[in-house]
């Protein structure tokens, strides 16, 4: 318990206010400066949940515990493994992004990625056979998050796939993701043509072993330190990872170059990484997940520990509500399309990559990445405002990830569902856009709004739990 301290209260107090303007004006009339919040009442029916949350004596401490655990995490890539080895995946078991979903409800890109994964695993001779297996429910679908993994876009992970293993010694957490394939026609966007499968095979047979050897030589790779730098070099860690990927290659190049393979193969690896500005995304995502997982299951906490989309629904998980998903139909992103595509080609929001916003970067650090503000519908000023607004719905500022253009203010970290519902400010999410039809691949990148209903449902459940606590 803290010392009761009336010092600030009883000497020249600084005052903020919310509510009746007249009362603030009466204070101003005394020559005292006072700041007013531009509060609006939340949607009808939500006052009860917020009021219960206010009475929940666990919440303030629970949220501090949750957000500090996430902030103090020091995730490192320790090496590579496979989905079979690390997660026990069998050949017809597939992980996917977002909350749980069935084949019947799956969108085009997820279906395409599943078809591709069946081909990769050799479970089907061609796409038609793969499709039939899926229609006949011969496959098992599990959310990545249910197995300690995350996957961008469709997020399909199958047994033979190589995975990064990311560990956080501070909180004793581990998380996994597969290796990023590049842009355009790629499995994660729902493409499954032969070139896609061939690339996945090369990743498993060549890239992964070389990286594995390189990590062994280099030692654990500190992802938080990488992000701290890349955020000051024009990345926001979700839709722009150009600096981060370059930093990764720079730091790892000596270790990669020493691998016991031909210089042609080494060169191929360098070229592949160089050609993929999102190469590091599949390392920062599990790093964010390992960090956020340390904040799970803290009774009374209203902090979001996962936001993820499966192409059909947007779902969130909240620390004080266990593994329960709170879902609503996913919105369709808006942004800039690759040539030859139109708005009707865009699939609803998909991917686990919103773990970056959960961690406080991506759309939350939009102001770090002025180069891509056009992607997300506007000007640098708009990016500034977006980031600024995110401080309203978050619990803390991450001192390890600082925003240079905000005079090194820490990134807004730890989304609080109560603050989201109370302010009606939704998390700002940057995202890639997948084509609606299976097999097409990426069609652009942009911005998407999570559905408010997810946050309202989660709030109600944590509020209810406080009643019986």
């Amino acid at each position: 318990m803290m010392e009761q301290d009336g010092a600030g209260l009883l000497r020249n107090p600084k005052i903020s206010a919310v509510g009746i303007q007249l009362l603030s004006d009466a204070i101003r009339d005394q020559g005292i400066s006072i700041a007013d919040a531009t509060w609006q009442p939340p949607r009808e029916g939500l006052a009860l949940s917020l009021s219960r949350i206010a009475a929940d004596r666990r919440r303030i401490n629970a949220n501090q515990q949750a957000v500090q655990a996430m902030i103090e995490a020091r995730p490192e890539v320790v090496g590579l493994t496979t989905a079979h080895q690390a997660l026990g995946l069998e050949r017809r078991q597939f992980l996917h992004s977002g909350p749980p979903i069935s084949w019947q409800n799956a969108s085009g890109p997820l279906r395409g990625a599943l078809v591709g994964a069946l081909l990769l695993e050799g479970e089907a001779a061609d796409a038609d056979e793969a499709w039939r297996l899926c229609e006949a429910n011969e496959i098992e679908l599990l959310p990545c998050h249910s197995r300690g993994a995350v996957g961008p876009m469709a997020g399909v992970i199958s047994a033979s796939m190589s995975l990064y293993e990311v560990r956080d010694e501070v909180n004793q957490q581990v998380a996994y993701s597969n290796l990023n394939e590049g842009l355009g026609k790629v499995l994660r966007m729902g493409a499954y043509s032969p070139e896609v499968i061939d690339r996945l095979r090369w990743i498993n047979s060549h890239l992964a072993p070389i990286l594995s050897e390189a990590f062994a030589r280099h030692g654990p790779f500190d992802v938080r330190a990488l992000l701290a730098q890349s955020l000051q070099m024009g990345d926001e860690g979700h839709n722009r990872n150009r600096a981060g990927s370059a930093l990764f290659l720079r730091e790892m190049s000596a270790s990669i170059a020493q691998c016991d393979v031909s210089s042609a193969e080494i060169s191929q690896v360098f070229e592949f990484i160089n050609g993929n500005e999102h190469f590091v995304l599949n390392m920062v995502m599990p790093a964010a997940k390992a960090s956020a997982d340390a904040a799970r299951n803290i009774p009374g906490s209203t902090m979001v520990v996962a936001m993820a989309r499966n192409g059909t629904e947007f779902g969130i998980q909240v620390s004080g509500a266990g593994d329960q998903w709170f879902t609503a139909p996913a919105n369709t992103p808006e942004g800039i399309l690759f040539p030859g595509f139109s708005n009707k080609d865009i699939n609803p929001d998909i991917g686990d990559s919103t773990i970056m916003e959960t961690y406080g970067i991506g759309g939350f650090a939009m102001v770090c990445a002025p180069a891509i503000v056009r992607f997300v519908g506007g000007s640098v000023e708009l990016a500034h405002q977006k980031t600024d607004q995110m401080y309203e719905i978050t619990l803390a500022e991450n001192p390890h990830l600082q925003i240079a253009s905000l005079d090194f203010r820490g990134t807004p970290t730890g989304i609080d569902v109560a603050k989201v519902v109370s302010t009606q400010i939704l998390p700002a999410v940057n995202t890639g856009m997948a084509g609606k039809e299976a097999g097409i691949g990426q069609v652009g990148a942009g911005l998407v709004e999570p559905p408010m209903s997810c946050f309202e449902q989660a709030l109600a459940v944590v509020a209810e739990s406080g009643e019986s606590a």
């Binding site: 318990m1 803290m2 009761q4 301290d5 009336g6 209260l9 009883l10 020249n12 107090p13 600084k14 005052i15 903020s16 206010a17 919310v18 509510g19 009746i20 009362l23 009466a26 204070i27 009339d29 005394q30 006072i34 700041a35 007013d36 919040a37 531009t38 509060w39 009442p41 006052a47 009860l48 917020l50 009021s51 949350i53 206010a54 009475a55 004596r57 303030i60 020091r74 030692g219 500190d222 938080r224 330190a225 701290a228 730091e251 405002q385 600024d388 401080y391 309203e392 001192p399 600082q402 240079a404 905000l406 005079d407 090194f408 203010r409 820490g410 109560a418 603050k419 109370s422 302010t423």
Partner: protein, 454 residues
Amino acid sequence: MIDHVELRSGLYRDSVALMLLTRTLSQDNGISDPIVAMATTLNMELARTAGYEIPEGSGSELLIAFRAEEEAISRCLQIIDDLLNQSQDPTVAHENLNHRPRSLGRLATDWKSDVALVSVPGEHAAYQAVEAIEAGAHPVIFSDNVSIKNELSLKKQATDLGLLVMGPDCGTVILDGVGLGFANVIPAGPIGLISASGTGAQQVLALCDHAGVGVRHVLGLGGRDLTDEIGGISAHTALTMLEDDPTVEVIGIVAKEVGPSTRESLEDAASKLSTPVVWVPTGDLTNGTDQLLEVAGFELRAVPVWRPAMERPNGSGRLVGLFSGGTLAIEAQAIAQASGCEAEIVDLGADEYTVGRPHPMIDNTLRLERLAEMSRDETVGTVLLDVVLGHGASPDPAAELQSALRDISVPIFVSLIGTNGDPQNFDSQVNQLTQAGAEVHLSNASAARAAVIR
């Protein structure tokens, strides 16, 4: 002096930021030859040249090297940690933005507020208050209709964090001379008040001002704080805070409702303080204030009465009291009852009258309607009113009431609760009321007694 050298991994800072940090360190007399830099080959060489023994690293660590006396090492490391983790003062970043926060929590955090005034509708008030608590601000909850359960929880949460919850339904607060809500203007002085009765506190302020004694703080805690259901959680905190304020020489407690066990625990706490604590009973606020002033070493001179411009004939009917202040109504009721006088005392500030309309301290419409009825009602023998001045109250209540008072033929007694500094101009209020035929008292008890005798 000994050398401290370490390589910290997982910490990246921009080189310019680190150069500035190193410069700040070198200005500290206890630290010699500081180097805080990313552990590049060049920086490691520089450190070796400066005579430090540098271990091998991977090149991506942060190098920290300095010389200091052994006992000063931990202090130096603390300074470095603080500088490394310093997040920019958000108010500076905010200056360039037009964006005004929607949430009280963010606002209070960014502006480093000590106090957060909450006056949203009651169903939303508890959440706003908890945001203030989370942001480290003491909430003043003006809103009413907050449940007992929420009040209890908010007060417990605040106590855990060393904060004081004022309210809910807190009408009057003065903090270091700044009035929040309905507050009279009074010079700073030796008295600190704890109040669970807004207009009760205002009566004490009016009388102290008359006695020439200043009041620095009024900590209004809401009417329920001293009931046994809440147990005086805020009152205990407030006692500690006022005790710790060296300018407070006497503490007064005004509460319209006090639970027996709460009273006992507060008396026990008060007995351990070096500052004397005086209970001002709401049954007779004037007498209570007299005692408070006496303990403070002053006295309440004769409480002034201003005669009406024209005397009115004595009526033969009952006494009707139309009050805006709840505690003042209760005090008048008690006095009428004790005298056995037939009286109908109405608190027009009670919840049943204020649904969908402003409080009678802000707007006299309802009171004017009632006064119009009085003028036609022959069973009414005497009329008793309170007029409360100060910040937040109607800008000229006497002018609003004047013509309705003139239409009444029976004697009228007004307790005028105000100070010389109040924005309404006390003398002008007295003048208008007496011109309209009212006998004006500074003391509500004295007005009630005069009305009862009549």
